[in-house]
């Protein structure tokens, strides 16, 4: 039996990797994937706590989060495609029109 804290450690690691990806990467797609990673890290944590407390509410929340994440992924990818069509780049550092 794997101790329950391991799940939380994995979750924390995934979240940290995602955070690092958002902060370090310049590629919008990578940033976007990192955000998804953070989202799923949170999902894992919720499922773990749900299991710990023997309560199914967490499962339901995770399903909702997955649904929302799917929709958000569709919208987010569409936005990235539109940006690419307009600017012909997905480098996040180039998107500073308002600052200039």
């Amino acid at each position: 039996m794997v101790p329950i804290s391991n799940f939380l450690v994995v979750s924390a690691l995934l979240f940290a990797i995602g955070t690092a990806g958002v902060m370090v990467s310049r590629n919008l797609l990578i940033i976007f994937m990192s955000i998804e990673l953070m989202l799923n890290a949170a999902n894992l944590a919720i499922i773990t706590f749900s299991r710990m407390n023997l309560n199914v509410d967490g499962h339901i929340i995770v399903f909702i989060v997955l649904t929302v994440a799917a929709a958000e992924a569709a919208v987010g990818l569409a936005i990235i495609i539109m940006i690419f069509r307009n600017r012909e780049t997905v480098n996040a550092d180039k998107f500073n029109l308002l600052k200039r």
Binding site: T19, V22, M23, V24, S25, R26, I31, A92, D93, F95, N96, L98, K99, R100
Partner: protein, 644 residues
């Protein structure tokens, strides 16, 4: 008695709405039909209700009609309701009748104007406002009409607004009238404050209980109302706008000077006769201002060269007469003169319009002359009006003017001095009017050859109203033949129920009893002889011996300069009122507004701007930086939560 009186002002309002909302979409024929028909219908309904009124017994000649409740607010209750009594009936007939003729005339006069539709829309609105004014049964609704005619005069005087002088004249009329309106409004406040109502019936009924005769409050209230009247009816000190009002189209001058607008002040005082009879001091002021205005304007008219300007000052002068009548408690004589004056002054202005039309726009008397054979109808009608205004026996002006002269002499409120000045003014009137006639119609034509070739009589649509008005100028006086000449003075009897002043009846009995019949006859003959002498003088100077007029002008060059400059009243007002106001405004604009207010606002904006640009580097525009800072923030927050 109840009748739908609101129909009378309703038709011009409908005409205004149709013509005003469909500007540029209707043909000229349609526009003129709608405009004339609406005023014509008003006149017809006016006549119908007038006949209804006549069928009632003398004591209860009153038709009322409440249209709807306007302002119900506690004690303050005002209705949109109308009242037809002998006084307002006379006014409705004069206003609607003369306006109708002017509308007809305008079709011909304004035919080639680009603003044809706009013109008739304004004209209808003017008539609507004036009919509301005279038909109102309370002071507030009267004030609505009062402001309405003020607005319309502004719109019509400045009708040719591309011309700067016209736009200025419109502004002048409006601003000067506002001063008067301010007084009128304050007067209403005093009345409402004391009486608690603005309804005529209530006010006149309660006034004797509330106000002490000759008391300070009633004197103040009537004086303030009179200030309003001086604005609307062009008396000293607010008469300066009327002579400039001739910048508008000539039929508009006729409308303003004869039927509407300027008669409002006289009507208002006659309407408030109960209040005025309680304030003898005000009566004296009214009479003195009236006679002073009559004399001053009469002398100015002697030395003017613009045909419309002469007529404009003659209007001011004649209005002075009406105020003299009101001031000596002969209110019905004032209204009588108002009526006859409406006929002959409308005729004079329309006739001058016909002359200007024929002269291709020339208004200067010095370039006219010899028009008699070119404009026969205009000449004869103009002559009739001139005879009427001069007070030649047999014409309407004689009866009304003589009535005023006699009352100013015989009434308890009158005096020999007022009579004397009024008499001199009557003689001056005859002189300048015949000067006008001789310079315009007689002698050699002094126009250039181009204008001479274009001389033509006006079309029938313009001469027909002239003819009708000429007939009215003759017979209009026969409704009020004095007892002395074997008449019954129907007019005064008709107005008697409205004019409840105690002295009115007394003065009337005096004349009827033949007590002073000899004096009256002597004065009447004297005034006629004096007028004839002055007509002869005009004939001598301007027809027989023109050189004499020139040398007389040379010898009296100082007086001529003063009169030609209109006593420089405009210049004095300019220096005393306009200039300080303009300078004060300049100070407020250049110093207070630009430096203080703008400085404050701009300074505040600069401070905020500086702070903002200081904070601007925080926003790098770099997504990853934001994410990092966000993460740090979350970490700090969590650390705080844990440590706490």
């Amino acid at each position: 008695m109840e009748k739908p009186l609101y129909l009378i002002p309703l038709f011009p309002l409908i005409g205004f709405l149709i013509n005003g909302l469909l500007i540029g979409r209707l043909g000229k024929r349609m526009i003129s039909f709608i405009a004339c028909a609406s005023v014509g219908l008003s006149f017809i309904f006016g006549v119908i209700y007038f006949l209804d009124l006549l069928s009632l017994p003398t004591d209860s000649r009153l038709i009322e009609s409440v249209f709807f409740t306007w302002i119900p607010s506690g004690h303050f209750h005002v209705d949109i309701s109308f009242l037809l009594d002998p006084l307002s009936a006379v006014m409705v007939l004069v206003v609607a009748g003369v306006s109708f003729l002017i509308h007809i005339y305008s079709i011909g006069y304004m035919h080639d104007d680009r603003g044809f539709g706009r013109y008739f829309a304004y004209l209808n609105l003017f008539v609507f406002a004036m009919l509301t004014l005279v038909l109102a049964d309370n002071y507030l609704l009267m004030f609505v009409g009062w402001e309405g005619v003020g607005l319309c005069s502004y719109l019509l005087i400045g009708f040719w607004f591309e011309k700067k002088s016209a736009a200025d004249a419109g502004k002048k009329a409006f601003i000067v009238n506002r001063i008067g309106d301010f007084g009128f409004l304050l007067g209403l406040f005093i009345i409402f404050w004391q009486v608690g109502s603005l309804n005529y019936t209530d006010v006149f009924h309660k006034a004797p209980e509330v106000f002490a005769v000759g008391g300070g409050l009633i004197t103040a209230a009537t004086l303030l109302l009179f200030l309003g009247a001086t604005g609307k009816s062009a008396q000293i000190p607010l008469f300066v706008w009327l002579p400039d009002a001739m910048e508008g189209p000539t039929p508009v001058s006729a409308l303003i000077h004869a039927a509407t607008m300027v008669t409002a002040g006289v009507y208002m005082i006659a309407r408030s006769n109960v209040l005025y009879m309680m304030a003898p001091a005000t009566m004296a002021v009214v009479a003195i201002v009236g006679v002073a205005t009559a004399f001053m304007a009469g002398t100015i008219a002697l030395a003017q060269n613009d045909i419309k300007r002469v007529l404009a000052y003659s209007t001011v002068s004649q209005l002075g007469y009406m105020f003299v009548a009101c001031g000596v408690a002969a209110f019905s004589a004032g209204i009588f003169h108002l009526m006859t004056h409406a006929f002959f002054k409308a005729l004079l202005f329309l006739g001058s319009g016909s002359i200007i039309h024929a002269m291709s726009g020339q208004q200067d008397l010095r370039y006219m002359g010899g028009l008699k054979k070119h404009l026969p109808i205009t000449f004869w009608t103009f002559l009739v009006a001139t005879l009427a205004i001069s007070g030649i026996p047999g014409f309407s002006g004689f009866f009304s003017k003589d009535e005023i002269l006699w009352k100013s002499f015989s009434s308890d409120f009158g005096s020999v001095w007022i009579y004397a000045v009024a008499l001199i003014t009557a003689a001056l009137t005859a002189f300048y009017m015949f000067r006008l006639v001789y310079l315009t119609f007689y002698g050699e034509g002094r126009m250039d050859s181009h204008a001479r070739d274009h001389l033509h009589e006006s079309p029938p649509v313009m001469t027909a109203p002239l003819t009708i008005l000429a007939v009215l100028s003759v017979i209009g006086g026969y409704v009020g033949i004095p007892h002395l000449l074997g008449g019954a003075n129907h007019f005064e009897h008709f107005l008697q129920p409205v004019m409840s002043g105690p002295h009115e009846g007394a003065g009337h009995a005096l004349a009827a009893g033949g007590h002073d019949a000899t004096t009256e006859l002597i004065l009447m003959i004297g005034s006629v002889v004096l007028v004839l002498v002055f007509i002869f003088l005009a004939y001598y100077f301007y027809r027989k011996n023109v050189a004499a007029a020139g040398s007389l002008r040379q010898r009296l060059s100082g007086i001529h300069w003063l009169l030609h400059g209109k006593y420089f009243v405009d210049e004095i007002y300019g220096a005393l009122v306009v200039r300080p106001l303009v300078n004060g405004s300049l100070f407020l604009w250049k110093i207070f507004d630009v430096l203080v207010i703008d400085g404050l606002i701009n300074g505040l904006a600069t401070v905020i701007g500086d702070i903002s640009s200081g904070l601007r580097p925080v926003q790098t525009g770099n997504l990853r930086t934001y994410a990092t800072i966000f993460l740090l923030g979350v970490m700090v927050f969590m650390a705080y939560m844990i440590v706490r």
